[in-house]
Structures are given as C-alpha cells and as structure tokens.
C-alpha cells in the first residue's frame, strides 16, 4: 500500500505569517490533488498538478509538484483566518478509467487572528 505522508500534522500560526505544507511519497503519481476540508464538511478540491516541477497559484496559495512527481508542497503567503482547515493531498496513479488514489493523513491548520 502506497503511503502519502503529510507534514506537519498540525500547524498553528498568527495571521499574516507564511507557511508550507509538505506531501511526500515513494510512489510516482500521474497527478496530485490538494483539498481543503472545514469541520463538518467534505473536502473541497483546490488544485490538480500533473507535470513534474509544475507550479500553480491560487491567490495566496502556491502549489508545486516535485520534479519526480513523488512529492508536492503547498505554500500559503500571509495566512488569514479563512485559511483555517484540514489540508489533504491525494496522489493518483493511472490515467482515465479507474485510478488508484491515496489520500494523505492531512495537515490541520489554525490561523489565529
């Protein structure tokens, strides 16, 4: 069973600080998704990265896929209380049809006003 390890598990920071969350595996993924989940709700897709070395930006969030497509990072600039939530990465193997997807255990972020 492939593993997707996320670090840190928990992060509590002050509003305005920057942070980076990591997602690491020994498996090569065909694509990798990042989700954010708020308490009592299901995860919501933020972004998909596909190409090794790819960087995508979503406002203050920057996502990078590792060159070897085994790892990814999420960087948040000037964090705001609205960024609070559980961040999950999910790596997929395969294209089209059924794709084996593994979710990381998540990083719980708290941004203090």
């Amino acid at each position: 069973t492939q593993l997707l390890e996320q670090s840190p598990q928990f992060l509590s920071i002050q509003e305005g600080e920057n942070l980076t969350v990591y997602c690491n595996s020994s498996s090569v993924f065909s694509s990798l998704q990042w989700y954010r989940q708020e308490p009592g709700e299901g995860p919501v897709l933020l972004v998909t990265v596909v190409t090794g070395g790819e960087v995508k930006k979503l406002k203050r969030l920057t996502f990078q896929f590792g060159d070897a497509r085994k790892d990814s990072s999420l960087h948040i600039t000037a964090a705001q209380p609205g960024d609070t939530g559980l961040y999950l990465c999910a790596g997929a193997i395969g294209f089209g049809g059924y794709q084996k997807v593994t979710f990381g255990t998540g990083t719980k972020l708290q941004v203090i006003p």
């Binding site: 069973t1 065909s30 694509s31 998704q33 009592g40 709700e41 299901g42 995860p43 919501v44 897709l45 998909t48 596909v50 999950l88 999910a90 997929a92 294209f95 089209g96 049809g97 059924y98 794709q99 997807v101 979710f103 990381g104 255990t105 998540g106």
Partner: protein
C-alpha cells in the same frame, strides 16, 4: 457545480444491526466512491463504482457492501455494524470525465455514524 447529498447525516446504532447509507448525485457522473475518515488515517476508500451494477473493493472493504442500481444512487451497507465502524463516511463523485482526465473528486457533506 455537482449536486451530491448523503443521508442520513447522523446516525447512532447498536452493534450487530444493519445500516445503509445513501449517496445521491444529481448529475450523471460515472464514478462514485465511499470513504471513511478517521483521526490519524485520513480518507480511506471502502468501495467504488464505475457504472450501474459495476462496483469494486477499496482498501478497507471488509464488513461493507455496496449497490448501484441507478446512476444517481450509490448505497453503502454495513451488514452487521461493529464499534470499529464508528466513523465519518463520505461519498464522492469523480467530476472530471473522459479517459484522459484526472481523478478530481467532489465530496458529499458526510454521514457521522456511531456504533454503540
């Protein structure tokens, strides 16, 4: 935006009783999934479906069965609930279609199940 509902949203039951959770989508997405989410384990796939009457097991399928008699409905059944099945259950649909697409999923709101 994909419409997906789960019912019930909360359920408390006793060990040994059967439980069925329902997932309903309002669009004709082919792939549907059932996950459970537990602290320290993240989201783990129980079963998935790739069409009407086409289902397969995920990594934690023991003690669970599924059925999909219509495109829009995917049912998860615990034949005889155990305390280890206390969890939050999420249904998801794969929103990106086509053979060259990526596995982008849209999740329902979840069902919190407690087995006493």
């Amino acid at each position: 935006d994909a419409g997906i509902t789960q019912s019930p949203r909360h359920k408390v039951t006793e060990t040994g009783t059967p439980v069925t959770l329902r997932c309903h989508q309002t669009e004709n997405h082919r792939y549907m999934y059932w996950y459970r989410q537990d602290p320290g384990h993240g989201l783990r796939l129980i079963h998935y479906s790739y069409g009407v009457k086409d289902t397969d097991k995920g990594e934690v399928s023991d003690g669970y069965s599924v059925s999909r008699s219509k495109t829009e409905d995917f049912l998860l059944t615990l034949e005889s609930a155990t305390s280890s099945q206390t969890s939050v259950y999420f249904c998801a649909i794969r929103t990106s279609g086509g053979d060259s697409s990526y596995n982008e999923q849209f999740f329902g709101p979840g069902t919190r199940l407690t087995v006493l």
